[in-house]
């Protein structure tokens, strides 16, 4: 079975072809954060038309790279939600129209389910069950994954996402976007002892996160401690230590509570070296880091998730609704 997947839930336009026999045949991404530095405010072109303008050329490009004709497709998958209604509608209408025109099934995929299944695209794929830590600019979640459609949200951020906390801290320290690498690099020369940042929500049971207070703490401390280079580095280090400590504490707790021994770390923050060092040191835990292309928003994960459900016997839907708010917990295993 060969599935074309289309992702347009927020900033990125992603398209990919996944095949039962051949695996991921091609994937293309047009990132809007490439063209306007998100926190810098450079405006080379209007982003508003980008999904619409980019999607047809991207589909053509991905089919060409896959050496596949659209008539070779057996099904079409698109992100049905959650996300921005206007953005979702572009992918949904294009994929749905293609499905109707080609007389193939079309399936609306849950964006977060696709993120959770993305590690299965790797050769070294984890087997079920695993605990996934999704840490990106938009998400911070711990989820137990028992199989396709079998998810249990163990914890999530109650305010800012981890990547957002990095970006906003970078901004407060006068660093460039993206904030993660900039903060981590400045932190390398910082003193981990000078500033003791709070470890939000680690002192009570539960697996939820809260990072908004770290941002306020940085702003307050920066104001009173001054802005010389050494102080900024110490602040970056203090922030990073608190972030990493918090994430590791919650992961350790999630693995202990579920009795699961496999941990998947997905999302841009998963690239942080100090976080990896600490997670790799966890006892009796196998840690997987899917490559970053599959961690950020992309079409490959949508093609894969659509393929996983359709090949398990689920039939496509025939409507063309989008679901901007869609609870992951409402998903069920593929209905054969």
């Amino acid at each position: 079975m060969r599935v074309l997947g289309v992702e347009t839930s927020c900033d990125e336009t992603g398209v990919a072809v996944y095949d039962s026999e051949r695996g991921l045949m091609a994937h293309c991404l047009h990132s809007q954060s490439d063209t306007h530095a998100v926190y810098g405010g450079v405006v080379p072109e209007l982003a508003s038309r980008d999904h619409i303008r980019r999607i047809s050329p991207l589909i053509q490009e991905v089919l060409a790279r896959a050496g596949s004709d659209r008539h070779d497709l057996d099904a079409l998958a698109y992100t049905r939600g959650p996300g921005l209604a206007g953005a979702l509608l572009v992918g949904a209408s294009v994929a749905r129209s293609m499905a109707w025109a080609l007389q193939r099934p079309g399936l609306g995929v849950h964006h977060m389910e696709a993120h959770l299944l993305a590690p299965m695209l790797e050769e070294q794929a984890p087997s079920f069950p695993f605990v996934a830590l999704l840490v990106s600019g938009g998400h911070t979640m711990l989820v137990r994954v028992d199989g396709v459609g079998r998810y249990q949200v163990l914890g999530q951020s109650l305010d800012d996402a981890a990547g957002e906390a990095f970006d906003k801290t970078a901004k407060l320290l006068g660093l460039s976007y993206p904030g993660g690498p900039a903060v981590a690099s400045l932190a390398n020369t910082g003193d981990p002892q000078r500033f003791r940042f709070p470890r939000p929500m680690t002192d009570r049971p539960g697996l939820d996160f809260s990072f908004s207070g770290l941002k306020t703490f940085t702003a307050n401390t920066a104001q009173s401690a001054g802005e010389d280079e050494a102080t900024r580095a110490d602040l970056a280090r203090g922030f990073e230590e608190a972030m990493v400590d918090t994430l590791v504490t919650k992961c350790r707790r999630a693995l202990a509570e579920t009795g699961v021994s496999r941990l998947v770390v997905a999302g841009g923050v998963g690239a942080n070296a100090r976080l990896r060092e600490r997670l790799d040191a966890l006892d009796a835990t196998e840690v997987f880091y899917p490559r970053i292309d599959f961690c950020t928003d992309n079409g490959a994960m949508i093609a894969y998730a659509g393929h996983a459900r359709l090949s398990a016997g689920e039939s496509g839907d025939n409507d063309f609704n989008v679901t901007p708010r869609w609870d992951l917990a409402s998903l069920t295993a593929p209905a054969a």
């Binding site: 927020c10 450079v42 982003a47 921005l84 206007g86 800012d160 908004s212 941002k215 306020t216």
Partner: protein, 157 residues
């Protein structure tokens, strides 16, 4: 139009004030939220939603650009335009549909939506990154003034 300054001693004071605001809101209103990173803009919206009985997660809308809340008797949208490169992107967010129905719309970084965003009725500015914040309330329309009058009646200075 007259506004005023309101000290908010701590998060409890913020919650109490947000509850007054919630009780004074008409079905439809545009509210600008001003203040630096960490000033407590999202915290204020969260407190307001809690006072209206919303129990779910109220995340920052910085990355999603928009978070919408359907409550039993009203609709609240929380926009963060920080990442907007061009006001025309509001069309892509689906602003036109959002404004077609009655809703209270909180907008962080409204200047990024210049020209496309409707005029604001009320501006809430937060300052001070310590526990204690200073809130400035400024109406900029008759609807905004009515909210201010109701707020003043509910919490005399």
């Amino acid at each position: 139009m007259t506004g005023w300054r309101q000290p908010l001693a701590d998060e409890e004071a913020t919650a109490a004030w947000a509850a007054h605001l919630a009780a004074s809101l008409p079905p439809s209103l545009m509210v600008a939220l001003e203040g630096d990173l960490g000033a407590g803009k999202t915290t204020l919206v969260r407190a307001l939603l809690r006072s209206l009985g919303y129990q779910g997660v109220v995340p920052s809308p910085t990355y999603t650009l928009l978070e919408s809340y359907e409550l039993p008797d009203r609709r609240i949208h929380h926009l963060d335009l920080y990442r907007l490169a061009d006001p025309e992107e509001l069309e892509f967010i689906g602003l036109r549909d959002l404004l077609a129905e009655d809703a209270v719309v909180f907008v962080e970084w409204p200047s990024q939506g210049g020209g496309v965003l409707p005029a604001m009725d009320l501006t809430l500015s937060l300052a001070g990154a310590d526990q204690a914040r200073r809130l400035t309330v400024e109406p900029s329309s008759a609807a905004g003034q009515a909210v201010c009058d109701a707020l003043r009646a509910a919490s005399p200075q």
